[in-house]
Amino acid sequence: MLWQTILSGLAVGSLYALSAIGLVLIFKTSNIVNFAQGQMAMLSTFVAFQMLTRWGFPYWLAALASLVFALVFGFFVYIVFLSRLKRAEVLSQIILTLGLYLVFRGVAGVLWGNVPFTMPAAVSTNTVHIGSAVVTWYQLFIMIVTLLLMLVFYAMFRYTKTGLAMRAVSQNQQAARLMGVSLTRIYGATWAVSTALGAIAGLLIAPILFLSPSFMDSVAVKAFAAAVLGGFSSLPGAVLGGLVLGVMESVFGFYISTDLKSTFVFLLIIGILYVRPQGLFGTREVKKV
């Protein structure tokens, strides 16, 4: 039984990891925490839903459209709103993304209402036996997609010019500018990619959770938790944080209580931050005077 719990924890955990990577990516390059990330993923998922069930497009096309939407959406949210706040205080950025959270939530409510929908899944939800554990094809699918995405991301960061520039900007913005990098373009690209990651997480989790304007809330808060666990500035940390969180939540839910999952996650964050304020994998920044 423990194995099965761990496996399903890994499946959910990989979704947290995907969202967390999106958060960390934005934070690392532009020092902004995007509280609206979950809502942006939710809207992107609804785009796929609309195409699938209302307009009858095939799944792959709907998913693709949702991704393209997410890329454009993320880019424009940065250019239209966040780029105007470059030098502003942290609090203004928080308020701005929280305001966007409410706007996006409201827009989804107006367009699709608050009744939960069933979102079709990409593959069947039949079960399969792995050793003594019983898992669904869908859980396996989630893990495989996540793994593939991680590889794609790794390659993008490692081998493309934009990926290199993103890493450079996250380390030293001024030096990157001196190389001729346009910060606005890089930030915009980061927001686009991050939103797309959230959208993928949304597409994958919607069939499990039912689709509604609030369906990403619980995932989003856990993505934050995963990012905090990982130190908020480390991509591998975010992945590991997501997986650890998924497994612990699943084990906790199975052996203790499913109703108190959020409480558990919260206590975990507080506890870890108390011991290591920079998160598990973060490094401390020392301010110069």
């Binding site: 942290v90 609090l91 308020i95 966007l100 107006v110 507080i270």
Partner: protein, 335 residues
């Protein structure tokens, strides 16, 4: 000097008269307006408390919805289960919430803006879940039904009578916070906001003061929770969510950070917009969200900045200093 003082006295008098007259002015407009007025003043208490924490001492909290709920439950349980008087339950809800705030504030000691926001946001998720789960005590989603308090044999049954109770609490809160801000402790809070390192070098215990301000802010929020519970006469795990924490932040940012009049203005504006538009369903949160976005982009210093006399709005001369900081932070390799 004296003319400035007279002006301030006159302004205070006008505000006081307006506050006293308000319930009778809105009475003919129907019960919804009375309700909005009472709720606005309750949220004024929350906003002033949050502004003490965020505006004056620079710590962000997305956990105030949860503090509000803790205050609600403490007060309801004490009056219903133990049959204690409301007048004892009210301060006790502040004490319990304050202690909880201190505990939440302890990790906050070492967290900066964004991390703190995320950690406290978790608290806003955890409390409703606990309230729902712990149904033996809280009665789960069926909720609790605390009663309106009474002064002797006079029950504060009308919205107008209750209004004066809330107003009295707000006035006491403002006096206490103003006293604090003018004293050693309040100065320490503000010093920490502006430069932790300089505060520490001046002998301020940064950790203790951060937890202390968290505790005070949470305590006042607990009072607001108690007032809310006995006003609505119904308490359930769905009363306040993370979204309400967002609204509270919106109140102080729209009104003006580190400003008590700003907190009040922001609370009234945001609450009124929110309540009046609630009949439009989803459009209501779009409107509130848009107000938050526009306020940050258009009036980064809040609504109070609009009435500041021009001579106080001098250009900043200090950016030379800050430019040095950024330059050095960017080159961490050279100590």
């Amino acid at each position: 000097m004296t003319s400035e003082r007279n002006l301030r006295m006159a302004r205070l008098l006008v505000v006081a008269l307006a506050a006293l007259a308000a319930p009778f002015v809105v009475m003919p407009l129907g019960s919804q307006m009375s309700y909005i007025l009472d709720m606005s003043v309750i949220f004024c208490i929350v906003a002033v408390a949050l502004n003490l924490l965020t505006g004056f001492s620079g710590q962000v909290s997305l956990g105030h919805a949860a503090f509000l709920m803790v205050g609600e439950y403490v007060s309801s349980l004490l009056t219903l289960n133990l049959n204690w008087s409301f007048w004892i339950a009210l301060p006790l809800s502040a004490v319990v919430t304050g202690i909880l705030g201190f505990l939440i504030g302890l990790p906050a000691v070492r967290l900066s803006g964004n991390f703190l926001a995320v950690a406290t946001m978790g608290f806003s998720f955890a409390v409703p879940e606990l309230a729902l789960k712990w149904s033996g005590l809280t009665n789960g989603s069926s909720g609790l039904m605390p009663l309106r308090p009474a002064l002797g044999s006079y029950v504060l049954g009308s919205d107008q009578a209750y209004y004066f109770l809330i107003l009295a609490c707000l006035v006491v809160q403002i006096i206490v916070i103003k006293n604090l801000l003018k004293s050693r402790t309040g100065r320490a809070f503000q010093a920490i906001r502006d430069s932790e390192i300089a505060a520490q070098s001046s002998g301020v215990r940064v950790g203790y003061n951060k937890a202390l301000v968290f505790s005070i802010s949470a305590g006042f929020t607990g009072i607001a929770g108690s007032l809310y519970a006995h006003y609505i006469n119904f308490v359930s795990p769905n009363d306040f969510t993370v979204q309400d924490s967002f609204l509270f932040l919106a109140m102080i940012v729209v009104g003006g950070l580190a400003s008590i009049p700003g907190s009040i203005l922001g609370a009234i504006v945001i609450n009124t917009i929110n309540q009046l538009s609630s009949s439009f369903g989803q459009y209501s949160i779009i409107l509130v969200g848009a107000v938050m976005v526009l306020a940050v982009l258009l009036f980064p210093k809040g609504l109070v900045s609009l009435r500041v006399p021009p001579h106080a709005r001098k250009p900043r001369h200090s950016s030379r200093g800050s430019a040095r900081v950024t330059r050095e932070v960017e080159s961490p390799d050279v100590p």
